[in-house]
Amino acid sequence: MQMPKLLMLFLFFWGIAISPVCYGYSVKVEEKTFPEDSLELKEPRYIMPFESKNLWLLFMNSKEEIVIREVNSKAKLVLNVGEKGRPSEPVWCMGSDNSELKISWRAKADGKILLFNTIDLKTNKIDTPITVDKTTEPLPRIKLGCVKNIVNLVWYGEKSDNKGRKYSIYASRSFDGGKTFSEPFEVTPQTRASIYPTLITDEKGNAYVFTEVVNENGREMVFRKTTEKGWEEPVSIGKVGTVSLYIRPLKVGNRLMVFWFNSYEGVPVTEMAYSDDGGKTWQRQVFETTRYFDLTGMQAVAGDDQNVYLVLSAVDKSKPEDDPRKLKDQLLFYYSNDGGKSFSGPINIRHDAFGSYTRAHLPNIVARGKTVVVVWNDYRNIRANLYMNYSTDGGVTWQDKDIPLEEPGKFNTVLHWDVNNLIEQQGTYYVLAHRFKTDAMNEAYPVLISFKLSK
């Protein structure tokens, strides 16, 4: 009896992949754990697919190291060795050579600085980091995009103006692969506040930014883009309520679209807008079925030019104060088969007999054409578990049973609240989460779960 236990302990601490296991439906699941890494839970973490078969992870550990770890070999690079200041909010993009990783982060040393660096994953060479900005007092809410030698960086800063602190969105660009960057450009000038940066970088390296702008006359959703000719004038998409957390932009073919969560006089609702003329004019839509739904998660993806998917987790605030369902997040799924011009009503993708009384939130989503997969955090087993469901007909119909991606009720495994960490690589799906070592939920390590859909 001792040997199996010792063997299991060995396997656990070395994070060796467990043989494919089926937890209740016809999907085989594998997982790879990294118990040697103690995650800094405050910070985002990512799966980075490089080349055709290789995956890397990017995260911060509890020693304030920015770690890049290859999944298969477990090779480890530390980005900020010897760098002063506490790092936060690492973000990444893939360089022109798909072994070139570009990372930006905010460090807080003598002041607040925005740093950038390039890592060659073939040689493990790490350059000396470049200071992109130390004038706007950057805060750790950063977006990064790369195409060929163009690098776009957008962030939220709190530089003072003559009226005191001003919260604004700034951007900087590089046209030499990140060796040099332009001076910070204020994307949302003359405002009271803008605090949520977003960024799309298209195949030409053009940058598209959507953000809420609060000014003396109210609040607007504003779009601004830059091409090789520079920044164009901002375009107002229209008046909005108080935007909270979620602004998700997409570019589907030539169509630009943005989804956002806002509230009017305390009544929450999700909205979207799209433009077919490069952002000059916008068509708005309100997801009326989301009125009173207070969002805890939002992700939007395109399967192709026609199939666009939106998944939300939300608490229904229209429930009475004493209704326990008022505290439980539910999943809401919407699909479009006309490239985002119109959307379905809410589709129920979760199947739990006590579903409205147990939490489900932080959905992650990936799609290819009409095949769409959603993984979420589910609390039907008290502990936080990962569950999955999928559709192969553009989100219209789903499997009639949810598929657990780990042994139900055994661990506390949690998805990140913002980063969409579900990817598909050559028919295999990977989702990155963190798993707590004990029920005290003080310390957690990365866990990468993979699965293939049934034929």
Binding site: K42, R192, I195, G241, L245, E265, D294, E321, L362
Partner: protein, 369 residues
């Protein structure tokens, strides 16, 4: 109908008159009554009636209309008088768990007069548990008038009160001193002695900033410990010139968290100075004790809780609509007494250091400009 209810009705006729009494008054904004939670109230009378007059405590409880204690639920009222005297001190459990609510420590009479209330000798809140309430205590100087109708010439700062909220099972406790505003009686406004608003008369009424008066531009700082370590509960009692309107749910208060009040940026800051915006408005009628998560949007709270770190916000009382639990829209006072309780029910671990047993930490949030 329960006995206390009959008695309450019997004294109800003095309700309106009770707020015209001239005397010094103190507000205990947060009374907690539960089967295992007591609120031990201490009252001190320093008014010397002199001559043939006597002095008594007039106790006015406003308590939630049901045991649901909904944030926007109105209150019911019960009031009664008990004897006191110059330099007298009186201690009782407003929850009635200890000595069935009668005066504690063998203090059964004053100058030979036994305590007699709406419920025998008990001074506790005569309503089923659990209840939240606020209590106004007044020292009336009287000759033969009925309770609440004495034309008394009370002096400022002649009544003092404290409240100790104690969990009988665990021993965890918190407390505060009552709010006695600096509003000496003005000849033409005799009701000023029972007016707790922050702008009833000129002068610095709440010398310690006990009232957050956002109609005067005041706000409070609110820090929030990591939800993974401590639960934070907000205790809010609206304040107005006429506290009967507050208790009866004719006015309420809207409370909101802000990153930047001047820029109208609702939200809170996380541990790394990031503003997480939201537009959640907490509506309170009469009094309330709700977790701070109900002041934050669901998404913002999910993010904040997942950081497992601390955060903070400005707390402001904006001019927003307030709706009662019976769906009636009422005006907002924009003033309130606000407290913050940080607690655990079974110990905590803070950065690896274990703290045994339940504990409480209570901060009365101060209004500032």
């Amino acid at each position: 109908m329960k006995k206390w209810m009959v008695l309450m009705l019997a004294v109800g006729f003095v309700l309106t008159a009770s707020f015209s009494a001239q005397a010094d008054s103190v507000l205990l904004p947060w009374i907690v009554k539960n089967r295992t939670v007591s609120t031990i109230v201490t009252l001190v009378n320093a008014a010397d009636p002199g001559g043939n007059e006597r002095v008594r405590f007039h106790l006015i409880y406003w308590y939630k209309a049901s045991t649901q204690n909904l944030p926007n639920e109105r209150c019911e009222e019960v009031d009664f008088c008990v004897p006191t005297s110059f330099n007298d001190i009186l201690v009782f459990d407003a929850a009635g768990n200890i000595n069935h609510g009668a005066p504690l420590f063998g203090d059964t009479s004053v100058n030979g007069t036994k305590y007699t209330t709406v419920q025998g000798d008990a001074l506790s809140l005569p309503a089923d548990a659990p209840r939240r309430a606020f209590l106004i205590a007044t020292n009336e100087i009287y000759t033969t008038q009925n309770c609440g109708t004495a034309p008394v010439l009370g002096n400022e700062n002649t009544i003092y009160a404290e409240a100790m909220v104690v969990d009988i099972a665990t021993g965890a406790a918190w407390g505060y001193d009552g709010y006695n505003p600096n509003n000496p009686r003005i000849a033409n406004t005799p009701e000023s002695g029972i007016n707790f608003s922050d702008n009833a008369t000129a002068g610095n009424l709440d010398a310690l900033g006990q009232i957050v008066a956002s109609n005067n531009g005041e706000y409070a700082f609110l820090t929030i410990m990591p939800p993974s370590v401590l639960t934070t509960r907000m205790f809010v009692t609206p304040v107005a010139a006429n506290m009967t309107q507050v208790g009866a749910g004719q006015v309420g208060v809207a409370a909101q968290l802000y990153c930047d009040i001047g820029r109208n940026l609702g939200g809170m800051y996380d541990y790394d100075e990031r503003c997480i915006s939201f537009d959640t408005v907490k509506q309170v009628i009469c009094t309330d004790g709700s977790d701070v998560s109900t002041y934050v949007s669901s998404g913002a709270w999910t993010i904040f809780a997942n950081t497992r770190a601390e955060g903070w916000a400005y707390l402001f009382l904006p001019n927003r609509n307030v709706t009662t639990s019976t769906n009636i829209q009422v005006p907002t006072t924009r003033q309130a007494a606000i407290g913050k309780l940080e607690f655990t029910v079974s110990g905590a671990s803070i950065d690896g250091t274990s703290i045994g047993g339940a504990f409480n930490n209570f901060i009365w949030l101060r209004g500032r400009i």
